[in-house]
């Protein structure tokens, strides 16, 4: 049986998470000796349901959802790697908004109260000196609906990923108030990990390691040569301007998970921060041992060695 990897992107995304699609397209999985099939679903909850139903062996899901399920005793899952720790978010606003300060008291779109994007936005805005209490929070569900509402003038600002911004038909119709770097600096948390059911770790551990190996090797290649990524992306996404891809490649130069993306300190910080959010108000954040397993990544790194330019700290645990 092929090893089914569940992803929540509908096509190769314009972020480092693309490494999963590209590893398949460019033959990294084959070379690592594992037959991988990508299963595409819309959102993390569906990916989780699919994992639990045995419809996939590994899924790229958001950390807060993973911790929620485990905290509620809903599943026995372990994070084993993170090809793209943190999505490149930014805060975009209507052209009428006068700078970051101008955000005070405006209508701000979020997914739902207590969602990850809501918590992050408040963190980032707080760091920029905007009182979250003063904002008119509008809950809007899907990211694309938030963007459409922004375009239609129904909200004044929202958090969106750089992929969404680039996809917008008229990116100039909105202004970027807080860019990707500033956003990450204000909210340095791990958002996405690849998780596997504990049972799969036991029965198909070799394949899990082979998948991790392929992802790490691909990440290292793209970290070494951004043009390589841009070329592979041009094949996967002929609809995107090559110039945009080249520019993204430089943006992401330091964002690759060349050592598997699991850094204890970052993860602990993420857990700490999550514990303070609304969603975990009445819930214990589970200890790391219950949701994370470093062993497969360690085996891989032992085999292929550690890269030492970025994504370092982990192995020093």
């Amino acid at each position: 049986d092929p090893f089914r990897l569940i992803v929540t992107d509908l096509e190769t995304p314009l972020v480092p998470n693309s490494v999963m699609d590209l590893a398949l397209q460019e033959g990294y999985f084959d070379r690592a000796g594992v037959e991988v099939e990508l299963v595409r679903v819309q959102q993390t909850p569906l990916a989780l349901a699919a994992l639990q139903a045995g419809e996939g062996e590994m899924a790229n899901i958001s950390v807060d959802a993973l911790l929620q399920v485990i905290a509620r005793g809903g599943a026995d899952l372990r994070a084993v790697t993170s090809p793209n720790k943190s999505l490149p978010y930014l805060i975009a606003a209507a052209p009428t908004v006068q700078g970051v300060e101008g955000l005070a008291g405006t209508r701000f779109g979020v997914g739902r109260l207590g969602s990850l994007d809501h918590s992050l936005s408040m963190l980032v805005l707080g760091a920029a000196g905007i009182e979250p209490e003063g904002l008119d929070i509008v809950t809007l569900g899907q990211p694309n609906v938030r963007a459409q509402a922004l375009l239609a003038g129904q909200i004044d600002a929202t958090t969106m990923s750089i992929g969404t911004l680039l996809a917008m038909p008229d990116p100039d119709a909105v202004q970027v108030l807080i860019d990707v770097d500033a956003y990450y600096a204000a909210a340095p948390v791990v958002m996405k990990v690849n998780a596997v059911p504990a049972a799969v770790l036991e029965t198909r551990g070799d394949e899990v390691e082979a998948v991790i190996e392929a992802l790490v090797l691909a990440s290292r290649d793209y970290a070494a040569d951004g043009a390589l990524w841009a070329e592979a992306m041009a094949r996967a996404r002929p609809d995107v301007d090559r110039a945009d891809l080249d520019q993204l490649a430089t943006t992401y130069a330091a964002s690759w998970s060349v050592n598997g993306g699991l850094q204890r300190q970052e993860l602990e910080h993420t857990m700490e921060w999550l514990a303070g959010t609304e969603d975990f108000a009445d819930l214990e954040v589970p200890p790391m041992s219950q949701w994370l397993d470093f062993a497969p990544l360690d085996h891989v790194l032992a085999r292929i060695g550690i890269a030492d330019d970025m994504d370092m700290d982990v192995h020093s645990r």
Binding site: T44, P45, L48, A49, Q52, A53, A65, Q68, V69, R72, G73, G74, A75, G111, R112, L113, G114, S115, V138, T139, L140, G141, Q142, V145, Q148, A149, A152, Q154, I155, D279
Partner: protein
């Protein structure tokens, strides 16, 4: 065929028995299914009490019922009128029906950008989305009902000098009632589903908002409470329509 006086009672008992079977099956599924997907009936009941106590359920219910009743009410009025027009002006019906079917087959989410643009994110937008879904079965069932009115009775009405309005009200409408009621019932159920969709895709609120919240945070007991709430509203509305239909169908021989 005559009907025993206790038939109503028998129906109630049979329904309760079936309900018990369903709850038992649910209980079994909760026990045997994987963790975290199906909550047990008792867990759901407790979650319901919790949500009732902290007023959450009531507030969400209020929001959703407002959206639903505005959208469904409009759908009933406009749907019946449109169905009657299409059914009685033959050319109009033949010309429009294909477009109504095309519209009915188009996923509501496809209109959401447009709706946001035109109506914003508030109650109007949501009610409109509910309306769009609920109006289809009302129009189409009314239309079909009007088209199959008894031509002999229509001719009799003409011969009796009945006005157009009188003919509709006294000859066509009573014959359409069974169609119409099914259309309204289907419209109500679709309207409820669209209430949830609307609440998810425009400003998130109400029962749809709770569904998103509990679904994304894996609180399945609370999630089930919301689902059951929706089913309950559906049952209430459709049973209400049944009473209306029963009143309008006293003339029928009980078969």
């Amino acid at each position: 065929m005559r009907v025993g006086p206790s038939e109503g009672l028998v129906v109630v008992v049979a329904r309760l028995a079936f309900l018990l079977v369903l709850v038992a099956l649910w209980s079994l599924a909760a026990q045997t299914g994987p963790r975290g997907i199906i909550p047990s009936p008792t867990a759901t009941w407790e979650a319901g009490l919790r949500m009732w106590d902290d007023q959450r359920l009531q507030r969400a219910l209020g929001d959703s019922l407002l959206v639903f009743s505005a959208g469904f009410g409009a759908a009933a009025v406009i749907g019946i009128a449109t169905g009657f027009l299409m059914g009685s002006i033959r050319m109009l019906g033949r010309t429009l029906d294909i477009f109504v079917y095309a519209l009915a087959a188009t996923p509501r989410v496809a209109f959401i950008p447009l709706v946001i643009l035109l109506l914003g994110l508030g109650v109007e937008a949501k009610a409109f989305i509910v309306f769009l879904g609920a109006v289809m079965p009302v129009i189409l069932n009314t239309y079909a009902g009007v088209r199959q009115s008894d031509p002999d009775l229509l001719e009799m009405a003409r011969a009796a000098g009945a006005s157009r309005f009188r003919t509709y009200a006294h000859v066509v409408l009573p014959g359409v009632v069974p169609f119409l009621v099914v259309g309204l019932r289907l419209g109500a159920t679709i309207g409820l589903i669209n209430t949830v969709v609307a609440e998810l895709y425009t400003a998130v609120r109400g029962l749809g908002g709770l569904l998103a919240l509990y679904g994304n945070t894996f609180r399945m007991a609370e999630y089930f409470v919301v689902v059951l709430m929706l089913a309950l509203i559906g049952v209430t509305v459709t049973e209400g329509l049944r009473l209306v239909e029963q009143r309008l169908s006293r003339w029928r021989e009980t078969v």
